[in-house]
Amino acid sequence: MVKVFVGVESDFEDRGRRVIEYNDTEIGVFFVDEEFFAYENKCVHQGGPICQGRILNRVVEVLADDRTSQGLTWDEEDVHIVCPWHGYEFNIKTGVHPGNKNARLRRFDVSVEGGEVYVDV
């Protein structure tokens, strides 16, 4: 296990990211809701650059009590990272696809020490 320097904590804006390379492993580190999350930049679909995709809230369908559809809207909590190759989406806090729990990104631990952000590789 190696501690890899990613950047300075104060440089990360909300929903900001750093995508880095260390020894041929590409890792994306995200800052969302005051927390850091890190994943390998390799989509479980076909190996695409998942961490270089767009960050968008999850889309949900609103059902009324009688189960009729009231259309789609943005979820206020769940934030997704979207793979730019073909659109697979993963919850940015869990790394899991919304409809396929077996589709999950490889995760790395992140630590903050003295205002500096590190990932364990």
């Binding site: 190696v2 501690k3 890899v4 320097f5 990613v6 990211r17 750093r18 995508v19 880095i20 390379e21 260390y22 590409e26 930049n41 390799k42 076909q46 190996g47 695409g48 650059p49 270089q52 995709g53 767009r54 968008l56 979207v82 730019p84 190759w85 073909h86 659109g87 989406e89 590190y118 590789v121």
Partner: protein, 405 residues
């Protein structure tokens, strides 16, 4: 390091956008091919696209009918860039999933080289990133032209596009090939097109866009197939989407319409092609079924075999089972379905994929496949992978073997 802390480098592209260079978007594939050790294999991509609508101002200048040319120019001057005369519907472009897939939305990356058309540079970049030796290039929106309400306009736009691509794109790089559009709405124009273009640089065959609503076994098309067979020119059926038939009209989301329509059109054409005995009438005409994926083929083989054996009197030209004819056809691989690998493996067995299947990327569309999608299939041996990625296409299209490969 003594501190136990390692330095890293930031990737030059933090977020991929419409302005990102193709080689950066596809950088991971370039890297995989080196890591996995197949970067030096011959790889042929038999289905990729460029956006002819961005060159529409040039394309329309090739329209030979003076009145249609006038209309097309007027569209341009009135609106500054409309796809005048085409039946393209810009308001229904959902392919990029609301901007989630930038390369489908737009390829806006800078291109400095002014010595060739911009599309040539973009093709070269995708070929470099995907490790390709040849790429068979098709238009994009013109794949809808088979449903144009005016057959005469379909024919003239097909002629104009074919001339433009043969003059502007293909001569610039011998690795770029195409299967040219045949406007079946006007069969005699198809003959003109075969006669005029089959010897042009880069033309390796012809293509019928599958989104059209006239049966492909109609007698008026038979002389076209005969001509292609005599000249040993392959015929491709390129699938597409449509939201205008009675079935897909009932699907009110892009995902539903796309999933079905790209297969439905080729299901209908292949059924007519086989049941009306076209493979018996033209045993040496190579047919290629493009962009319907592969999962429909076991369905077709089993369904047609069952029904044919019960009703042979309706298909008297057949001398063997429909699935036997299907096994002699060729297929492009994209969009490959792999969510159940056992079914994928059975499909590959069923269609004799090792000799009949050809890799295709469909780049830059949203559901493209990189060559790794074939290389990574766990049930293929190395020779089958080599065949599907390149050897089959070198043979089917009679392409020169790339130097040193």
């Amino acid at each position: 390091m003594d501190s136990g802390i390692e330095k890293t480098k930031e990737l030059p592209v933090q977020e991929i956008t419409i302005d990102t260079d193709t080689r950066d978007i596809l950088a991971r594939e370039t890297k995989y091919q080196k890591e996995k050790g197949f970067a030096d294999w011959p790889i042929v991509d038999i289905d990729a696209h460029h956006s002819e609508m961005t060159s529409w101002r040039q394309v329309i200048e090739y329209i030979e009918d003076p009145i249609l040319l006038h209309y097309a120019r007027e569209f341009q001057s009135r609106t500054g860039g409309a796809p005048g005369l085409s039946n393209h519907t810009p308001g229904l472009r959902y392919q990029d999933a609301g901007g989630r897939i930038p390369h489908q939305q737009q390829i806006a990356e800078p291109v400095d080289d002014k010595s060739v058309h911009r599309d040539v540079t973009l093709v070269r970049r995708s070929m470099q990133a995907l490790g390709l030796d040849y790429q068979v290039l098709f238009p994009g929106n013109l794949l809808q032209l088979g449903t144009h309400p005016q057959p005469r306009v379909e024919a003239h736009l097909a002629l104009a596009y074919n001339r433009w691509v043969c003059d502007t794109i293909l001569p610039e790089d011998n690795r770029i090939k195409t299967l040219l559009y045949l406007p079946l709405g006007e069969p005699e124009v198809c003959h003109r097109i075969i006669d005029e273009f089959s010897e042009r640089q880069g033309v390796v065959g012809f293509m019928i866009t599958s989104v059209r609503f006239k049966p492909v076994h109609h007698n008026s098309y038979i002389p076209i197939y005969r001509k292609l067979e005599e000249r040993n020119l392959p015929l491709a059926f390129h699938a597409g989407l449509t939201w205008t038939d009675e079935w897909t009209k009932q699907t009110d989301l892009f995902i539903s319409m796309h999933a079905i329509s790209f297969v439905l059109c080729n299901i209908v054409h292949m059924t007519n092609w086989i049941i009306h005995g076209l493979p018996e009438r033209f045993p040496n005409l190579k047919t290629i079924w493009i962009e319907s994926g592969l999962a429909w083929l076991p369905f077709m083989m089993q369904r047609l075999d069952s029904e044919y054996q019960m009703r042979p009197s309706e298909a008297p030209l057949l001398k063997k089972l429909p699935s036997d004819y299907i096994r002699e056809m060729h297929f492009s691989s994209q969009p490959i379905e792999t969510s159940n690998m056992k079914l994928t493996e059975a499909t590959f067995d069923g269609i004799n994929a090792s000799s009949q299947l050809m890799y295709s990327s469909d780049w830059p569309h949203w559901d493209f496949n990189a060559p790794s999608t074939i290389y990574d299939l766990p049930f293929l041996d190395e020779q089958a992978k080599r065949n599907i990625l390149g050897e089959n296409a070198l043979r089917v299209f009679n392409l020169d073997r790339p130097a040193g490969k």
